[in-house]
Assembly symmetry: D2
Homo-oligomer: 291 residues x 4
């Protein structure tokens, strides 16, 4: 049997009444189970009577062996990067709407937490991406992403032109609104809107999906996640932007080189027993639903 969790961090979407209700229920549950509670400082006000410590995100990630994230997929996405490195297990509790990452519902939370704390749970590794930007030969920025690293046009009215290499082999030149480089986790997010395939989370894969490509013959490609992807903003083209999980990190100049590879750490995502990826796919995306 898997060992139970002893030190549990609580993270939540701030300023949401329903999150507060759920956080208090979680505190209650955890206190009954004699778990040490670490409250993310962003939601400290949600559980004023808790005996847990109030800590910042990084300390929380380092000190707990399970982090419970209350909110939507976006809340977990935000927390993912800090939680991946220390290797803490992460469980998501959704509010109202089922998510891909937050798949425990408040109604079933107590029952499912009992199972999880008794060692009855599923665990999967979700790959993150690491992106670094080099300008004139010097590293100027780096960041990580659970969903996708995206290079967008900066000026709404102008396409950008990108050259991509995979493991040193030229892949293609791409005139488009941008390029989405997505993990399996991200394949059901922005990459799907761009026309990309759904990648099962169990795949060691990355997909490259152009956004509104100028050429008709473009089509998404899926490559192994041990590949090193290099994207260069064409000299002579206009400025671009890079976002990681939808957060703008940098304006890119012509000639900038973006290197994307699998992150050294992956996210340990926990699910209650009975978790069914395909069911979430059908329910959340109405994927292949009969009209």
């Amino acid at each position: 049997m898997k060992s139970a969790f002893k030190r549990v961090g609580l993270i939540g979407k701030t300023g949401d009444h329903n999150v507060a209700v759920t956080v208090r229920a979680l505190v209650d549950f955890l206190e009954r189970h004699k778990a040490k509670i670490l409250l993310d400082e962003g939601i400290a006000d949600m559980a004023p009577d808790s005996k847990g410590s109030i800590v910042d995100r990084d300390l929380l990630a380092m000190k707990c062996d399970l982090a419970i994230v209350v909110g939507g997929d976006g809340t977990l996405l935000n927390a993912a990067r800090s939680l991946a490195e220390p290797g803490v297990a992460v469980l998501g509790v959704n509010l109202g709407r089922l998510g891909f990452l937050v798949d425990v519902s408040p109604e079933e939370m107590t029952r499912q937490l009992e199972q999880i704390f008794s060692g009855d749970y599923l665990e999967e590794e979700r790959t993150l991406l690491h992106a670094s930007v080099t300008r004139d030969g010097e590293a100027i920025d780096d960041s990580s992403a659970l969903n996708d690293v995206t290079i967008h046009k900066k000026d709404i009215a102008r396409m950008i032109e990108l050259d991509t290499w995979i493991d040193g082999h030229f892949l293609n030149s791409n005139r488009s609104d941008g390029l989405i480089i997505a993990t399996p986790t991200g394949s059901t997010a922005y990459a799907l809107s761009g026309g990309g395939p759904i990648l099962h989370p169990g795949l060691d894969a990355i997909t490259l999906v152009p956004i509104c490509p100028h050429t008709l013959s473009n089509r998404p490609i899926v490559i192994h996640d041990n590949a090193i992807i290099e994207v260069v903003i064409h000299e002579g083209t206009v400025q671009a932007q890079i976002t990681c999980d939808g957060q703008i990190s940098l304006t890119l100049d012509p000639g900038d080189r973006i290197t994307v590879r699998k992150h050294d750490h992956s996210l340990r995502l926990i699910h209650p027993p009975g978790h069914d990826y395909f069911e979430i796919l059908r329910k959340k995306l109405r994927w292949s639903e009969q009209p």
Copy 2:
């Protein structure tokens, strides 16, 4: 027989040596044919010895019965809005690369102009769109487009939400990066990159193509061009932008209403005899080309 053209305006891409060479050849041809020349002020320096008048774009449009535009599709696109209203015939001369709108090549120009001036040419009407923006019940902006009116997200990292009505009937709600409303002319431009169908220029049609729609079940729709299209930026969503033929015209606030309809005037586009739309489609887009 169609009557020849007497007063010819010349418009060109500025600052391009090849344009200058072609403009001078055109001046030469026109002087030999006793046509009155109106030189757009932007390219006045390209034909310093011409006896033609140097005029601004609006005067040129009003005074000439044929406007010859030298450059790429973008050059003609730019000029189209001023040229549509007075109903002047428009001929495009391309430089290097064949265009959909500029389909006379410099090499064949003299021969084809002889044909055209002897009345042997094809003429088609290309529909323009008119867009107006209403805020709090007041018209705050309006513009026109030969290719497309596009409503984009403004913040790169946030989808926008739009409601669309056709002739007062609710069409759909759309969470996406934006919406392209394109004429047949525009159907081979940005709308095609967004996954839209190719509309033959002879169609009385408009296509609505969502950009990276959040919902899987979206699909472009084609409607009659006498329809009145109203798009409302969702209250509670973020800011958006409207562009006409790729030119930013306005930042849109939640609640803004954009009304798009066929413009009162269309562009009279002239082609040399033998013009073949499908051939341009295949050559320019490599459409349905066998690998």
Copy 3:
């Protein structure tokens, strides 16, 4: 005010109990309204006590001024070709599931028929296609379709190769599983499965949608419905098949030429007041529905 209908034909899906119930309710309604009833011989047994005449489909089409079709879109599709030529108005009553063509529900039937018989209804013309096949210069077959004329591969394991001309202009060569030539009515049927756009029924348009094209750069095209479309099965390719509205009409040999054009007659489709095409689109296809 539009004049009411005096002679009403009744057509239905055979062998369906619910159809029988609805047919009897219709007979009842029509007898109360002193309309002359013509019962299609296929459903004569459904209304044994009716005073109406039992006639074959062609006589029915010729003698009535309104034909009411009870069943699904398929039932109306089947009847459409006989009903288009004599110009009879056609109304569809659906059973269980809303259709694009059969949009009167049994529950609202009486109320809506009252409106329709008092002249309060919408009428639209739905274009049909006419297809003829020429072999070695001789016409060997012709047929018509409300949805689509489709040329398919015959051997499941072999692509076919087709050349297409529009009004005598070469369009493209196409190696694929086939080609769908669809009316606006058919654009929400098989053509949609093949990746085609939705065409509003008010459009004078035809769309050509390749089925699983071999070339990446293919994309549906929409042309005016006054175009003459010619498709030739490549010499040296394998056999193909032509279907009209999904009914196999002929095996095609290499060299066969299929000519498709707008049919001389269109279908007069009647809707109750308040009919909303876009609502059917959203309800029936879950088009652009938010997950």
Copy 4:
């Protein structure tokens, strides 16, 4: 250094003069290199003076340590299933047109064979699929495929309905013309025509691509190649067919269950040094080529 090849089998497209020329050049090369030659009986007449043994395909596969296949991708596809099980290395020589699998051109053959025989070559494992059909609980057929296992409609005019399970989890119900289950090798073949993504051959992945799906919200999915895929023909639907690499293997009845999994053996595909998958992708498919 990798050891050179001692016993070389020769397989070719039958009845093609160019193949014969190349086969004779190969025999020449191999005799100079003192390799034992095994000639596939299908091309025995192409090298009448060869000292090699004439053998059937199975014996050839068992006895040689390298099989050279001369023809197109289809020729290698045909041979692949026999060559995978004994684990023989396979090299493809193309005729005229570069293939994904046959990437040695006759012009460079001698030079590249020198490299390969001196141990300078690339080797990759290409996954095959194994498909078995169960009817009323009994296995009635099984087959294997290098590209894809495809379940098609049998009657051109009728959709089929399929239920799919992955590792015992329900995936979806699918009303369509069929379903393509493709390896990375097959992802650039029929699956690509159906709208599937390109999967790099290095991926441990299988893609499921519906053919003309009835539902708008369908989208290809990519899963791990250790998954067991079960497809059941809906009771109450019509007959279907199963093909492996485009060869019809069986008519399927409603209720039939098709189980697809990774084959126990994979194909050892040899490439000359400098082989570049992405280059073949661009050249052969004109993938993402700029117009």
